[in-house]
């Protein structure tokens, strides 16, 4: 069953007086519960594709369907609702809210969803336990290592059971050991919670964990390998 359906998507940026074709006619189906990696060198279009799937940007042409809903052309408000309900994000630079503790960062998404305080607290702590941050609930991001911050980001991304988790080079700022630990956690979450993970990376270690590896180059899919 396809959770993401991308149909002939193109994305063109205007850079000064030059048009840059970031994506050229991409079509792709991603199955529910998958662990998909979009790989490729810098400038290949993987982050652009991830942003389009996450409704953070609009394609120049083509359409994207997420969990049965066409998201192309939705209003900013509707896209925000869709991101809140269906998508979890993990960013390269963690992007945690510095004034909130680990638990509060995880709770914030549920707060926006209107989850009651008690349930928020219980679920946030449970998911922080799952990513190996027991007892570090009240630590602020500045008091956590890079790896721990990225685990909080993973916990934030999966806590509300989104349809997909989009991770943009999540191990790029981590050493290999920490990165591997994080990938194992995400693999575990993928299996335990049946969460669909889609990565963009050029890290070989991440590619090694992929169940499906999609190679991009110059805005086109050049290889699509299922393992």
């Amino acid at each position: 069953m396809s959770i993401v359906h991308i149909d002939n998507v193109t994305k063109t940026y205007r850079q000064g007086k030059v048009d840059v074709h970031a994506l050229s006619g991409i079509s792709l189906d991603i199955s529910k519960g998958g662990f998909t990696v979009l790989a490729g060198p810098s400038g290949s279009g993987k982050t652009t594709l991830l942003n389009l799937m996450g409704g953070l940007d609009n394609p120049t042409s083509g359409s994207i369907t997420l969990d049965g809903e066409v998201i192309t052309g939705l209003s900013q408000s509707r896209l925000a609702d869709m991101r809140l309900e269906k998508i979890g994000f993990v960013f390269q630079a963690y992007n945690l809210i510095p004034v909130l503790s680990a638990q509060e960062n995880v709770e914030y998404v549920m707060l926006m969803q209107g989850v009651p305080a008690k349930e928020r607290s219980e679920r946030a702590r449970a998911v922080l336990d799952d990513v190996g941050l027991e007892g570090k609930y009240s630590r602020r991001p500045a008091e956590l290592s890079g790896g721990q911050q990225q685990r909080v980001a993973v916990a934030r991304a999966i806590v509300s059971h989104p349809s997909i988790v989009l991770a943009d080079e999540p191990t790029a700022n981590l050493d290999s050991k920490t990165g591997q630990g994080l990938l194992e956690i995400m693999c575990e979450m993928n299996e335990k919670r049946n969460a669909t993970f889609i990565f963009s990376t050029h890290d070989q270690m991440v590619m090694d964990y992929a169940k499906r590896l999609v190679h991009l180059k110059d805005g086109r899919i050049v290889d699509d390998e299922t393992r």
Binding site: G54, R83, F91, V109
Partner: protein, 410 residues
């Protein structure tokens, strides 16, 4: 959690927040003190003018305040006096009669306003007795004695013990003429008054000016300025009971001294313009702080939008932050402003020689601010309102952000 988040965001850059809070607090402090000082000054001006000239309330014949005709009199002053005794907040009353006259000394003649007063009662109402600079004030039983304004005395080249010839029109149209002995010279501090005023005992005035027991004014004072309105209403309500050929009316000090009210309004207007300029300057500095806070957190706003926050939620959070920052400044400003005002209220500020407008109204050398709810709250409320208004600009600027562009911001 969002309120907590806003509070913590305020303290992300403590130095900047403290400086902003201090700017707001300073503006509030200045507004409270300056407004209190102005209101304190106005009260002194009003009290000085009321004590020397009008009293808080006057019962007069209709329109006597506009055109002081000798024949427009209160024919039965005792009945009005009895009425006033029953009115709450009126602490004392007296009777006065006035007549324009030519006043001649040995070598000079000047026009002046002769007022007949009851010396004992006048002491309860007016400050003239305490402004005697030479000689003494009138006493009950005096007849053709007079106390003269200092500038009039100077112009007439007279002093205590000299004789003064009075020539005027009596109530019945006859000539009012007498010779007065100067008993004292007063200086109220109000130049215009001191240049023309002369007081003589009321019974003697009534005899010279053929008043037939009538007076021109029944003057009353109240226990406070705020009590004047209710007392005026009560007196006005009871005046129809007093028999009089010409209708009587009860006027308050502000109706009798429109010039003073205009001076106060002009001074207050100038003050308000200055305060608004001060507030606008502070508001721009605060807007700069808020804009900096938005620009340096653009990346964070992008993240929040990416995880599902709508622009309205971010706007709300920024407005919470502005409200916290402003409230801290205002609370501090009110506390400091009130403390400073109360301190200066107790010590007073010596102005030295009173000059210009102040001198006209006989304001004492030591001025004290007058702290009230109005002066303590008005300025800070305006600061809060304008500061929140300036905070709207950066708060609504956030609404234009797009997640991807915002996350690429440094």
């Amino acid at each position: 959690m969002e309120i907590l988040m806003a509070w913590r965001n305020v303290w992300r850059n403590p130095r900047r927040s403290v400086l902003t809070i201090l700017a707001i607090a300073f503006a509030c402090l200045l507004l409270i003190f300056m407004l209190s000082f102005q209101f304190g000054m106005y009260e002194v001006m009003i009290n000085a003018a009321v004590k020397v000239q009008t009293g808080h309330l006057q019962v007069i014949a209709k329109d006597y305040d506009k055109d002081m005709k000798m024949r427009w009199v209160v024919e039965d002053p005792q009945a009005v006096g009895d009425l006033m005794l029953a009115v709450p907040h009126i602490t004392a009353h007296t009777f006065r009669a006035n007549g324009f006259a030519l006043l001649s000394s040995r070598d000079r003649t000047y026009g002046g306003m002769v007022t007949g007063v009851l010396p004992a009662r006048e002491r309860e109402i007016s400050s003239t007795a305490s402004t005697i600079r030479q000689g003494a004030y009138l006493e009950p039983g005096d007849t053709n004695q007079a106390v003269v304004g200092s500038l009039l005395a100077k112009n007439l080249h007279i002093s205590v013990g000299d004789e003064l010839v009075l020539l005027g029109n009596a109530r019945d149209g006859s000539i009012a003429a007498t010779v007065l002995n100067v008993k004292g010279v007063f200086s109220s501090g109000m130049d215009e008054y001191d240049r023309s005023a002369i007081q003589i005992p009321l019974p003697y005035f009534q005899e010279v000016f053929a008043m037939r027991g009538a007076v021109h004014q029944v003057v009353a004072v109240c226990d406070s300025l705020t009590a004047v309105g209710p007392a005026q209403s009560t007196v006005t309500g009871n005046l129809p009971k007093v028999k009089s050929k010409r209708n009587l009316e009860c006027k308050s000090w502000d109706e009798l001294l429109p010039g003073l009210i205009q001076s106060i309004q002009m001074d207050l207007g100038g003050g308000i313009i200055f305060y608004l300029i001060l507030i606008v300057v502070v508001a721009f500095s605060i807007m700069n702080t808020f804009l900096m806070a938005v620009f340096e957190r653009t990346h964070e706003f992008g993240t929040l939008m990416a995880i599902g926050a709508k622009p309205a939620r971010l706007t709300k959070m920024l407005l919470y932050e502005s409200a916290f920052l402003t409230s801290c400044g205002i609370i501090l400003g009110i506390a400091a402003g009130c403390a400073l005002t109360i301190y200066v209220e107790s010590t007073g500020i010596t102005l030295g020689e009173a000059q210009g407008m102040l001198r006209q109204y006989g304001i004492p050398n030591v001025m004290r601010p007058e702290l009230s709810w109005l002066t303590a709250v008005t300025g800070p409320f305006v600061v809060f309102f304008i500061t929140m208004l300036t905070a709207l600009y950066p708060a609504f600027k956030v609404r234009k952000l797009k997640p991807v562009e915002a996350m690429h911001a440094i």
